[in-house]
Amino acid sequence: MKHNEFIREDRLPTFWCGGCGYGQVMNSITRAFEKAGVTLNDTVLVSGIGCWGHVDSFLKVNAFHGTHGRALAFATGIKLANPELNVVVALGDGDGVTIGGNHFIHACRRNIDLTAILCNNYNYGMTGGQYSSTTPEHSITSTSPYGHIEPGFDICKLAEVSGARYIARSISENVTQTAEYIAEAMSKKGFSFVEVLTPCTTHYGRNNAMKHPPELYRWLKSTVVPAAAAAKMTEDQLRNKFIIGKLYDRPGQDYGTRYRDEIQAKGIEDLAKKE
């Protein structure tokens, strides 16, 4: 299928604000679907709650739109119940690693065969721009009017130490690059993770003296360093920077395959017949 054929044109326009990066990420997803040869019937898009959580309603694949923060837990059940399904999970920063942080680290650790695409816009857009666990220090948000005093997560590092199989980071305006990472993530068996840095023009930008979308895009770009360049930089130079690119790719059996292989190797089903 061609990438534009995955979009439900009758549901357009999206409800996302002008300047928001989510349309770009949705574009990357459909291009990745085309590249990966995704079929509608065998694919389930599991989404969380938040602005990004609405992405499922604009795509033609199966969907599961559950509760805030729990998408990975629903997706775990779907994938383990039917390993033939291609399960893609749409997460936000509030949804995926703040309220849902526990599910995130455990899905990484178990290496469940899912592809998670997390859009990080540094705040809770849908509820009015409150701070999340990725909001940079000193940021102004609607709940940190005097400047945010908590450090934010580096989600890709969190995914790495938690055991994810594949990790990449991109920014939303790099549509083609992001699509390549998502397609590669889908081709890997195990927990694959793509973080996409996205601008929230309505809240984060406006609250932090970047009222016009181009200012916010320029700022986002100034915070990232390509992996190749980062390799030559010192720790000091990399402070407060996000490394973009393919960050991690390691072998390892996914949970579902291992579960089934162990049962077979230990003859558990045959043992039961003898009982």
């Binding site: 729990r70 558990i268 089903e269």
Partner: protein, 389 residues
């Protein structure tokens, strides 16, 4: 396996075996006393029958995983106790809103909070009914023996599949850990989830279009077949797309309630003992029903006309059965290990306004037959010798 065999086992084992007999092939849970044996047995037994067991990071994830697995076509269940049930409430609403079958075993213990972790209670009755926010119908069954643990677990799956709803099995620490013989029989006439008519074209499928069907239950294909569909915990239309229209929300919320209450005759299960001539009716359930049965036998030995109405379905509440039981009685006694959650319901269907006496314990100890008879002796049966005790 023979068509049946007799086993001597604890209630929790019978629940796990009942789930397997009902066709459950997916379990996700988090360890918690006094339900943990169910997880342990599921972890051993499910791989033997081609099923999947997973221990999740918490109860929120556990119920999410069983809901997901059910949407993918597997009969799924979890087991927990009060603190876990509390954590599950939000996602239970997803199963209500998306009409996804699943079974939640609640082996009740004393609360609130961590409470008396190893002691029995029956304090989750109202939580099962109203725990998740928003109006909805719910089914809750309460076993009072090891045999009923097995049989009602099978029933719980049947109701869950038939009505596309989450179902609670409300055991308690006593019933879950008590050992008795039970007959492990093959489950006959299991309900399978209704599937779309094969003539229905594939592609986009309206999984919530209940009005098309006489029984108001829409078929539910699994993910991965010829139908493409959207499950949605937000208010949605027939196709699962988010929909904020007032008439749509009104239609669906009433549907979630109606599909349970309108089928109450099919779902409500009670048993009557010596009710034909009973002047005094003991209405009880779960472990307290055992005490009520003993009290009844002792009273009958002394010629007093005491009967028992045992509730095996707690929700939808057996309103007609309770009303009928109270019709000719002089008084009703409701023994329960809480401060009157079922007694308040009994009072709602007490047309003649006879006295409804609560016998309640919340100290983690079972109600004794003596306590039940003492309540009657104090008010009515002054001649009771209680020598049998």
């Amino acid at each position: 396996m023979n068509t049946w065999e007799i086993r001597f086992a604890m209630g929790n084992e019978a629940i796990a075996e009942g789930a397997l007999a009902a066709g459950a092939r997916f379990y996700a849970g988090y360890p918690i006393t006094p339900s943990s044996e169910i997880a342990e047995i599921a972890s051993r037994r499910l791989p033997q029958v081609g099923g999947v067991f997973i221990q999740m990071e918490d109860e929120i994830a556990s119920i999410a995983a069983i809901i997901g697995a059910s949407a993918a076509g597997k009969k799924s269940f979890t087991a927990t106790s009060g603190p876990g049930v509390s954590l599950m409430q939000e996602n239970l609403g997803v199963a209500v809103m998306s009409e996804i079958p699943c079974v939640i075993i609640d082996v009740q213990r004393s609360g609130p909070s961590t409470g008396l972790a190893t002691k029995p209670a029956q304090g989750d009755v109202m939580q099962a009914r109203w725990g998740t926010h928003g109006d909805h119908g719910i089914i809750a069954l309460a076993p009072s023996s090891v045999q009923e643990c097995y049989d009602l677990t099978i029933k719980a799956f049947d109701f869950s599949e038939k009505y596309r709803t989450p179902v609670y099995l409300m055991a308690d620490e006593v019933i879950g850990h008590m050992r008795e013989p039970y007959v492990l029989h093959e489950a006959a006439g299991l309900v399978s989830r209704k599937q779309p008519d094969p003539s229905e074209p594939g592609g986009d499928y309206k999984i919530f279009d209940f009005e098309r069907y006489d029984d108001h239950i829409a078929p539910m294909p699994p993910y991965g077949g010829k139908y493409i569909f959207r499950m949605n915990g937000s208010m949605h239309d027939e196709a699962g797309f988010g929909c904020g229209a007032s008439d749509n929300a009104d239609k669906f919320i009433r549907h979630y309630e109606d599909k349970i209450t309108k089928n109450r005759d099919d779902i409500v299960m009670t048993e009557s003992y010596n009710m034909e001539d009973a002047d005094y009716v003991l209405v009880s359930f779960g472990c307290s029903a055992r005490s009520a049965m003993a009290a009844m036998r002792l009273a009958r030995q002394e010629g007093e006309k005491v009967g028992v109405l045992k509730l095996m379905t707690l929700w939808p509440f057996p309103d007609k059965e309770v009303a009928a039981a109270l019709k000719k009685a002089k008084a009703a006694v409701v023994p329960e290990m809480n401060l009157g959650q079922v007694a308040s319901e009994v009072s709602r269907y007490n047309e003649r306004k006879i006295p409804v006496i609560g016998v309640n314990r919340v100290d983690g100890s079972m109600i004794t037959p003596y306590q039940i008879l003492d309540a009657l002796k104090g008010l009515y049966l002054k001649g009771l010798s209680l020598k049998g005790l």
